[in-house]
């Protein structure tokens, strides 16, 4: 059987652009067909923006790589039409065990909050993640959307100009140039685009190496997350075991900085470690091994004129907490509606500066969390090791110490508290749905609130009458009135608190823009103007 990651999914084909006399201009070009590039392109195509994706490869990524997809990422993928594929294939787990040295110090059961369509997170190999997005692109193409994915097309030069970019591409049939009104670089942590434009990638440099292995267990093994601090098979370091679909287990072994990467990767060195970790009697096949190096850093700005960076090309974190791909999806979610409004002339170009502001805020939050996890997992001084070990020893005996154990704080979406796009607030309404926060999902009979919001601007009335539709600033807003049985305890808890009714203006990325306790069209029109950048 040909493995998924050996099959060309978007093989190189000669494009009409290559035969053109002059470089062809496209409204949007995306560099990189990883999860984030594919998501940007799908979102643009769903907004009827013709888009070209360029990637030097033509297959999904090799090995599992990003494996934890958070609730917010799944909600975004729902909007992109791929959420069900992820959830149906992905592995759900609730039980986690924490080991210190050779003993288990405690176990925990994640009891996710009720009343959400999507789970807190699922485990799924990155190659499935990419496969489902490519399948979604094929479905969009079948619907007639202009979304062109060009494999075997390596970008060799990018020239940023005032109102477009010139991109040089190398293909099996030779080079050609094309132009993009807007260029979105999703070409990963080592982003060649970033380098070609001579842009920075700064912040706290945080160096470590991880050996990551995909292992196929031949016998049953529990669906649990196991995390080891200072285990006997990896002294002074950490280890993580996580289940993925198809009986594939993901193992992350921390190796430290000064190591011989080629030596560590050899099966004769990897297999004895894994046997010590899993037990001598456990039979397994080693499917994939890689060494992963990370730093915690970000670009100073994600937007450089008509070139915009999203995902790992813009920011890089440690793997603890699943904040890489998950935050990348949130970048795309934040970017695309703004870009579409600017392209349509409905919003000033400065609206895109708020992509920078909001997503840099989120990136800093992710870098802070992942740096703190790294500090706990790999103490950098004798004293910090003493405290770390004290926490773990106490956690074995006393519940109070368990929240201090930091083996990764799982990705939660950022709330854009200081965003210049935020409008009116009523502080007696629940804090979790304040302006800037991602709208919380709620069941609505057989349906779900986020599904009903979709990717429009929505005026949400709860025990308040709002019109079914509204038009302002050249934009159509959708009205959604919840009454009677739809104002269930989840809706009350998340959107009303002690108030008897409320009106929310929700952005296309499902973040709250403004909220009131009464409906007034003038309030909506004014808040909409603000959220599309008219007051910037």
């Amino acid at each position: 059987m040909t493995k998924l990651f050996e099959t060309p999914l978007y093989p190189y084909q000669l494009s009409a652009d290559q035969k053109a006399d002059a470089p062809v201009r496209h409204p949007a070009v995306v560099i990189g067909a990883g999860p984030i590039g594919l998501a940007v392109a799908i979102d643009l195509a769903q907004h009827d923006v013709p888009v070209v994706i360029l990637d030097e490869n033509d297959k999904v990524s090799w090995g599992s790589r990003a494996i934890c997809f958070s609730k917010r990422a799944l909600e975004i993928l729902d909007r992109l039409g791929a959420g069900d594929d992820y959830v149906n294939k992905g592995v759900l787990w609730n039980l986690g065990k924490v080991f210190f040295g050779d003993r288990k110090v405690y176990e925990f059961n994640l009891l996710p909050e009720d009343g959400h369509n999507r789970p807190a997170f699922i485990n799924l190999q990155q190659y499935y993640c990419e496969l489902y997005l490519v399948e979604r692109i094929r479905a969009l193409q079948a619907e007639g959307k202009q979304i062109d994915i060009r494999g075997g097309s390596k970008v060799t030069a990018v020239e940023a100009r005032d109102d477009h970019s010139r991109i040089s591409v190398e293909t099996p049939d030779g080079p050609y140039d094309l132009e993009a009104d807007w260029l979105i670089a999703c070409d990963g942590a080592a982003s060649p685009t970033r380098k070609m434009l001579g842009l920075d990638f700064v912040g706290r440099v945080f160096e470590d190496n991880f050996l990551i292995a995909d292992v196929i267990m031949k016998a049953d093994f529990p669906t649990e997350r196991w995390f080891w601090f200072d285990p006997p098979f990896n002294k002074g370091q950490s280890a993580l075991l996580h289940k993925q679909p198809d009986g594939v287990w993901r193992i992350d072994l921390q190796l430290g900085w000064d190591i011989d990467k080629e030596e560590e990767k050899k099966p004769e060195n990897v297999i004895p470690r894994l046997k010590q970790m899993l037990g001598e009697e456990v039979e397994f096949d080693l499917e994939w091994v890689s060494i992963y190096t990370f730093q915690c850093r970000r670009m100073e700005k994600f937007r450089h004129g008509r070139v915009i960076f999203a995902g790992d090309s813009a920011h890089q974190v440690s793997p603890f907490g699943a904040r890489g791909a998950n935050s990348g999806f949130q970048d795309t979610d934040n970017l695309v509606w703004k870009l579409k409004l600017v392209m349509d002339g409905l919003a000033p170009e400065s609206l895109l500066d708020t992509y920078d502001e909001e997503r840099i805020h989120a990136a800093d939050e992710n870098i802070l969390n992942s740096s703190r996890s790294t500090d706990f997992i790999t103490p950098k001084s004798e004293q910090s090791r003493i405290f770390r070990d004290a926490v773990l020893d106490l956690a074995e005996h006393h519940a109070f110490a368990r929240p201090l154990v930091n083996s990764g704080r799982l990705s939660l979406p950022a709330t854009y508290d200081c965003s210049r796009l935020n409008g009116a607030d009523v502080t007696s309404l629940p804090a979790r749905t304040r302006p800037g926060s991602p709208a919380a999902d709620c069941p609505l009979g057989e349906d779900w609130l986020l599904h009903k919001l979709g990717d429009d601007f929505v005026v949400l009335g709860i025990n308040r009458d709002v019109p079914d539709s509204l038009s302002a600033h050249g934009i159509s807003l959708k009205g959604l009135s919840l009454k009677g049985g739809d104002v269930n305890p989840f809706v009350k808890d998340r959107y009303l608190g002690n108030e008897d009714g409320a009106v929310y203006l929700i952005r296309p990325d499902q973040h709250v823009a403004a909220r009131w306790t009464t409906y007034d069209e003038a309030d909506i029109v004014s808040a909409l103007g603000r959220v599309i950048g008219k007051e910037l």
Binding site: I386, F387, F400
Partner: protein, 64 residues
């Protein structure tokens, strides 16, 4: 609430003796570990980040 830096222990000598007794006969490494666990246990009794920050400042003997 702010950190209480006035006398607050009912029987200070008894507490001091208990503290020394807890460390009696321990190696430097075991003593350090005990102190670290003790700090964490005590921090949980306080349970207020602002007060804990003031305690950290008081312990560092910094003037500002």
């Amino acid at each position: 609430m702010s950190a209480n830096l006035k006398p607050n222990l009912a029987r200070p000598d008894d507490f001091y003796a208990d503290l020394l007794a807890a460390h009696e006969g321990l190696s430097k490494a075991d003593s350090d570990a005990l102190n670290a666990r003790l700090i964490l246990v005590l921090a949980n009794q306080i349970g207020d980040n602002e007060v804990l920050r003031e305690c950290l400042k008081a312990a560092s003997l910094s003037s500002e």
